[in-house]
Symmetry: C2
Subunit: 659 residues, 2 copies
C-alpha cells in the first residue's frame, strides 16, 4: 500500500469515528458509511478547498442538499478545520460559506448543482481557465434521482455538456436494487457518464474520481456497498490518537492553500481582475443605468407595438449588453417572445439564452444554483402559467434570499383561442403570498422600465416581472415634460437613483402611485398591468357623470407595502369608493380595497375564446367598471346596510353547486 | 393485401383528408401525418369505442392531452359518427364524453392516463374482468415525455405494472433524433416496453398494437416517419366519395356496439351490478355516515393523542372500509403518518395505499386520471409542503372540476428540528386563491369529522384537508350534550345531513362558526387549525382583563364565503377588534379582518428549532395575542389615527433590506 493510500485510509477511519459519534445520522448510517471512503478520498486528494478561505471563488463546490447526509459534510468540515473540531451542530446555510445550499425538497440540490456547473462553464468562457477552473460535487440520495426536477435538470446538464458536474450517490438501505439500477439508466439516457464503484475499494474509488475529472459529460458515481457489507472494524469506535483525527488533514489544507495562492497570483496579473471581483461582489458596473437606457431606447424605437412584454425583453437584451454577468435561461414557453424582440442595433452581441425546453422546473432549480455560485446574475424567461411548475424551486430561492430574476411572458386574458387552462388566474395571488419575493406587473412600456430597475434593486430575494403580450389599450398619461414627446423612458442623464417615470404622486418604483386625481376624490380606481388602461378609460366615463376619479397603478404590492402608511393613504385615498381592477383572482385584494371596495376581475378559470372576448365575458371592461361604480354609489347613498342582529342559520351549501 | 388492410388504408386516406381540410393543426401536420395510420388502425381494429354511447364505462380511454394533436381525435370522432360530420370545432372537455381530458401543461396527460390505467386495474380486481376489461391509449407529443411529471408518472406506471397503458408518440419536426431516442430509453429504464415502428407500414403498426395488448408492462410505441418521408399522395386532397369518408367506419361502430351489448348482458347478470352502477354515478352507499362514524369512533378510541392528522387518517381508513371505491395514493412524505394511524378493529381490511415515494407530481397527475376514469374516489396522502410540487396537477383537477381528495399531513410550525424549509408558510394562501378548490384546516379531532364530511360533499372540484400532527393545545369547548362525554364525533344515528359538531353559533360545515362569545363583543379572535387552541387560551387571558371576547374557528374559507353576509357578520362580529391567528402568512386575511384588524402569524419562512420554540419565536402564543390586543385597544381608545393630507414622498426602499 502506498503512503497516499495509507493516509486516505487513516482519514477515512477518523471520519467514520466522527460519524459514529454524531447521533444525527443514525437512521442513515449505512448510507453514510458507504459514502465515507469516496467522500474522504475526494476531500483528501481532489477537492479544491482551502479551510482558511472557504468562500474562495474558484473553490470546488461540494453540495449536500439533504439533512440525512449532512453529518458527512459536518465531519469533513471538522476534520479539515473549516469549523472548530468541537462544533457539535452542523452550521446552517448562510452561517458558513462551505454550506453551499439549504436543505430542500428532494432533487432541488441536484438541479442547483447543475446550475453551479453551468455558471462555472459560462464564467470560464468569459474569464478563461486561469481564473475559473473548478468542479461541482454533489452528495445525493438515491431518492433525489427519482424526482422530476432532478430528471429535468439532468437532461439540461446532459444537453449543455456540463462535464464539471459529478454526483455521488449510494443506494439507501430500503432501496430496491432494480429500481436503483433503473434510476442510473435514466441518467445514462440523459447524456451522463455513469460509473458503478465498489465504495470500499481504494483503487476503484480513485479511478472513478479521476475519470470524472476527465469526462466530457456530467458524471454519476454509484457508490455500492461491498457485497459482504461494511467491514465491521470500520464502524467500531476504536481509540484513535488526536493527531490522527486532525493532523493528517494538514496536507489537504496545505494543498488547498497552495492552489488558492497560485490562483490569487494569477488573478492579480489578470487584466479582467476588476470586472471579475466586481461581478462576484454583485456590484453593477459604473454608468449602468445610462448605458442600459441608451441601448434600451434604441431597441424600443424598432418596436412596432410597445407591450410590457416587448419592452421588458428589450430591456433584458439591452441589459445583457451592459452587464455581461447576466446568464439567461429560456423555457420554450418564453423563448418565442424572446426571439420576437428586436435587439438594440448598437449593442455588442449579448449571450443568447440557454434553451431549456419544457424542463421549467429543472431550469428554475438551475437558476438557483447559478445565483448560489456567484459571479452570475441569473435570469429565467418563461410563460407566466408555467410558474406553477417552478414554484418549489422559486421557494428555495426566496428561502435562501438569492437574487434570481424571472421574466414571465403571456400574462393576461387576451391570449389566443384554445385551452382555457393557459390563462393565469390565481397565479398572481399565489406569488404575492410568498415571502421575500417581489412581483412586478407593469402596465406599459414606460412603467416596465421603472419596474425593471426596481426588480434589479430588490435585495430580499427573487423578483418576477409579469408581462403581457398586448399593448395596454390606452397609454398612461402624456409623457412627462422633458422627454421630448418620446413615449419611452426619459433620456437618462440623471445619476442613480434612476429617473423613473413619475405619475401625479409617487413613482412606479414605490410599488404604487397615482396616475391622476390627487386630493379629494369620490372614487379611486386601482389596477395593475394592462388593466390600468381599462381604469383610465373608466375614469373618463365616470368623469362624464360628474365624479372625481383617481387612478392608481400598483405594479408591485411588496414595494408598496413597504411605503409609509401616509404615502399609501395618499395613493389609495382616505375617502370615497375603492375599486380594484385586475384580470385575475380577487384573493388578497382586500388589502387595498378594504371591506367596502369593489373588485373587477375573475374568480373562475378562463375560457377558450379569441383575444379580448375573454375580457368581455368576465366583465373586465371600462363600461362594466363604470356601471358597477354607479350602482354601488346609488345604493350606498341612502343608508348603510346593517347586519341583522340574530340571523338564522342558512343551510350548509357545500353540497350544492354554486355558480 | 387482405381486405382488412385495404379497408384500413382507405380509412387512413379519409382521415388524412379530414386533417388536411382542417386548418387547425397546420403547424403540426407532419407529426399528425405520422400518427395518422397508427391511430386509424387503432380506432378501426382495436379500440373499444361505441359512437352511440361514448360514455360507456368499459370503453377504451383514448387520451389526447395536447391541442396540437386534437385534430386527429377530431377526425376520428367525425368519421366514426361520434360527432356530426360537419362539426367544424373540436368539442371542448366537458361537452363530449369522448374528450377524456382538458388540454393542459405538457406531461399532465401522460400522468392522467397512467391514473386511468391504475383505476382500471383497481376496478378489474374488485369487479372482475367480465365488467372491467379496457385499455388506455394516449397520443402524446415527444415533448410530453421530457417533463418531470411524465417521468415521475412513468416510474409509478412501471412500478405498478400498468400493462393496460399504451402511449403513442412520434418525433416532432424539430426534434433531435438522439434526444428522442434518449427519451425512449428513460421510459425503457422505468419498466416500460418500448417499440419502434415504421408508422407507414401496415404490418409493423398492426404487430405493435397487438403486442401492446399482450404486454405485461406499460407500452410506448414510437411511430417513426418512413425514411423517405410521408408519401406525397397521402396528403393530397384527392376527391373521395362520400361513402368512403363515412361508410367504411360502420364496421368499427358495429364492433363497438356489439362489444357494448355483450358487456351490458354481462352487467345485467353480474351480482355486483348495483354497486358498480352506484360507484360510477358517484353516489355514496346508503347508511354511509352511520357506518363510517361507528368505525371511525372505534379507531379513535385506540388513539393515544387526537391530533387533526390522526383523526383524519383514521377517518380515511374507516371510510375505505365503507366506500370500497376509495383509491388511495400515498407519497413518502405522508405514508409515515398513515402507517402510524390505527385501524378500526372491526373494519374489514381496506385496501392499502399505493406507495408513490417522492414522485408527488406524478402521483397528483395520476389522481386526476383516476377521477376522470370514474368508478373511483381518488385520495392522495402527502406532506403539506409537497403541495407546491403538485400544484400544476391540482390546478388541472380544479379546472376540470374533478373530485380529488388530498390529506396533507405535517402542517404547522411545531415540527422537529432541521430545515426551516419544511415549514409551510405561504402554502395556505396560495391554495385558497385557487378557484373551485376547497381547503379545510380543522382544529381538532371533532372538527376534523365535520370537515371530512364537508370535503366529501364538496362538488365544485378538489378538496384538501390540511392536518397538523400535534394535538391542539386546549380542546375546543366541552362536548355537546348527548355525546356521553366522548370527545369524538357524536353517536351517529341521525340521518343525513350529518350530525356535525355545533359550536355556539353555526357549525364547522358552514366553513366558519363561533365557538363562544355570541352577541356583543369587544374582541373577536379568529383562527384555523391548531391555532384555535391558542385563541381559546388567549380568550381566557383577555377575559381576566374584563374584555368580552368571542372565538371563531374558520376551517374552510371557501365554504364560509358562500354563507350569507348576515351569517358571516354574526360569526365575525360587527363591532370590536378582529384578530386573526394562523401559523402562516397573513396574505388574504384582510378578507375577514378588515383594514383595522390584527394578524398574528408569520411573514417570513420558518426557522430550524425544536417543536414549539418556533411558535414562541414568531410570537404566535396566547400571551403575545393578549399583549397585542391590549396594546391596540389602549391605542385606539383616545383618538383615531388620521393620515396626513399632503404626505411627503418617502424614498424608495426596494434597495434596502427590510426586516
Amino acid at each position: 500500500m502506498n503512503p497516499q493510500d495509507a493516509l486516505t485510509l487513516r482519514l477515512d477511519r477518523a471520519a467514520r469515528q466522527s460519524l459514529a459519534a454524531s447521533q444525527q445520522g443514525s437512521a442513515y448510517l449505512p448510507e453514510l458509511a458507504t459514502l465515507c471512503l469516496p467522500v474522504t478520498m475526494l476531500w483528501c486528494r481532489v477537492l479544491r478547498h482551502d479551510p482558511t478561505a472557504p468562500d474562495w471563488p474558484d473553490r470546488d463546490r461540494f453540495v449536500v442538499p439533504s439533512l440525512a447526509l449532512q453529518p458527512l459534510l459536518h465531519a469533513m468540515l471538522r476534520l479539515t478545520g473549516a469549523i472548530g473540531a468541537d462544533t457539535q451542530a452542523m452550521p446552517e446555510y448562510g452561517t458558513h460559506p462551505a454550506v453551499e445550499v439549504a436543505p430542500g425538497p428532494a432533487g432541488q440540490g441536484v438541479a442547483a448543482a447543475a446550475g453551479m456547473a453551468l455558471a462555472e462553464q459560462i464564467l470560464a468562457r468569459r474569464h478563461g481557465r486561469s481564473l475559473v477552473n473548478h468542479r461541482v460535487w454533489v452528495m445525493a440520495r438515491d431518492t433525489d434521482l427519482l424526482t422530476g426536477v432532478a430528471l429535468e435538470a439532468a437532461q439540461l446538464a446532459g444537453r449543455f455538456g456540463l462535464n464539471r458536474l459529478t454526483v455521488l450517490v449510494s443506494p439507501g438501505s430500503h432501496t430496491d436494487p432494480a429500481e436503483f439500477s433503473d434510476s442510473l439508466a435514466r441518467f445514462s439516457a440523459s447524456g451522463w457518464s455513469v460509473r458503478w464503484v465498489n465504495a470500499h475499494s481504494l483503487p476503484a474509488v480513485n479511478a472513478a474520481l479521476t475519470a470524472s475529472t476527465r469526462a466530457r459529460k456530467p458524471t454519476l458515481i454509484a457508490c455500492m456497498p461491498s457485497p459482504i457489507g461494511t467491514p465491521a472494524d470500520y464502524m467500531a469506535p476504536a481509540t484513535v490518537a488526536e493527531e490522527e483525527q486532525i493532523g493528517p488533514w494538514s496536507p489537504t489544507a496545505r494543498r488547498g492553500a497552495s492552489l488558492r495562492r497560485s490562483w490569487l497570483r494569477r488573478l492579480s496579473r489578470h487584466r479582467g481582475r476588476d470586472t471579475f471581483e466586481r461581478e462576484f461582489a454583485s456590484i453593477p458596473p459604473p454608468l449602468l443605468t445610462e448605458d442600459w437606457l441608451r441601448l434600451w431606447r434604441q431597441a424600443l424605437h424598432a418596436l412596432p407595438a410597445r407591450s410590457s412584454q416587448q419592452a421588458a425583453l428589450a430591456g433584458l437584451r439591452a441589459l445583457g449588453a451592459v452587464r455581461h454577468e447576466l446568464g439567461v435561461l429560456a423555457a420554450a414557453s418564453g423563448s418565442g417572445a424572446w426571439h420576437a424582440t428586436p435587439h438594440a442595433p448598437s449593442a455588442t452581441h449579448a449571450a443568447a439564452p440557454w434553451p431549456c425546453g419544457l424542463q421549467e422546473h429543472g431550469m428554475a432549480g438551475m437558476l438557483n444554483g447559478m445565483a448560489l455560485h456567484g459571479g452570475i446574475l441569473p435570469c429565467g424567461v418563461a410563460g407566466m402559467i408555467t410558474i406553477d411548475r417552478m414554484r418549489s424551486a422559486l421557494r428555495m430561492a426566496a428561502l435562501m434570499r438569492r437574487k434570481v430574476l424571472y421574466l414571465l411572458t403571456d400574462d393576461g386574458l387576451a391570449l389566443s383561442d384554445g385551452g382555457a387552462g393557459w390563462q393565469p388566474v390565481e397565479q398572481l395571488a399565489s406569488l404575492r403570498a410568498m415571502p421575500h419575493l417581489a412581483v412586478f406587473r407593469p402596465a406599459c412600456a414606460e412603467e416596465t422600465f421603472a419596474c425593471w430597475q426596481a426588480a434589479l434593486d430588490w435585495v430580499e430575494g427573487p423578483a418576477l416581472l409579469v408581462l403581457s403580450p398586448h399593448e395596454t389599450p390606452e397609454p398612461p398619461p402624456a409623457p412627462p415634460p422633458g422627454s421630448g414627446g418620446f413615449a419611452g423612458p426619459p433620456s437618462g442623464t440623471a445619476p442613480r437613483p434612476p429617473a423613473v417615470l413619475a405619475g401625479r404622486f409617487g413613482t412606479a418604483a414605490h410599488g404604487g402611485y397615482l396616475l391622476c386625481g390627487e386630493g379629494t376624490r369620490d372614487v379611486t380606481l386601482m389596477a395593475t398591468g394592462p388593466e390600468v388602461g381599462i381604469a383610465r378609460h373608466a375614469q373618463a366615463l365616470l368623469a362624464a357623470h360628474g365624479l372625481r376619479v383617481a387612478v392608481a397603478s400598483i405594479p408591485c404590492w411588496e414595494a408598496f407595502s413597504r411605503q409609509t402608511p401616509a404615502y399609501r393613504m395618499a395613493v389609495l385615498g382616505d375617502t370615497g369608493l375603492r375599486v380594484g381592477i385586475e384580470a385575475a383572482n380577487s384573493f388578497g385584494w382586500e388589502r387595498w380595497l378594504g371591506q367596502n371596495g369593489i373588485f373587477i376581475g375573475m374568480d373562475d378559470f378562463g375560457i377558450s375564446a379569441p383575444a379580448n372576448a375573454v375580457y368581455e365575458r368576465f366583465g373586465i371592461t371600462a363600461e362594466a367598471v363604470c356601471a358597477k361604480v354607479l350602482e354601488r354609489l346609488a345604493l350606498s347613498t341612502p343608508a348603510k346596510e346593517s347586519p341583522a342582529p340574530t340571523p338564522t342559520l342558512p343551510r350548509s351549501r357545500t353540497g350544492t353547486r354554486n355558480k
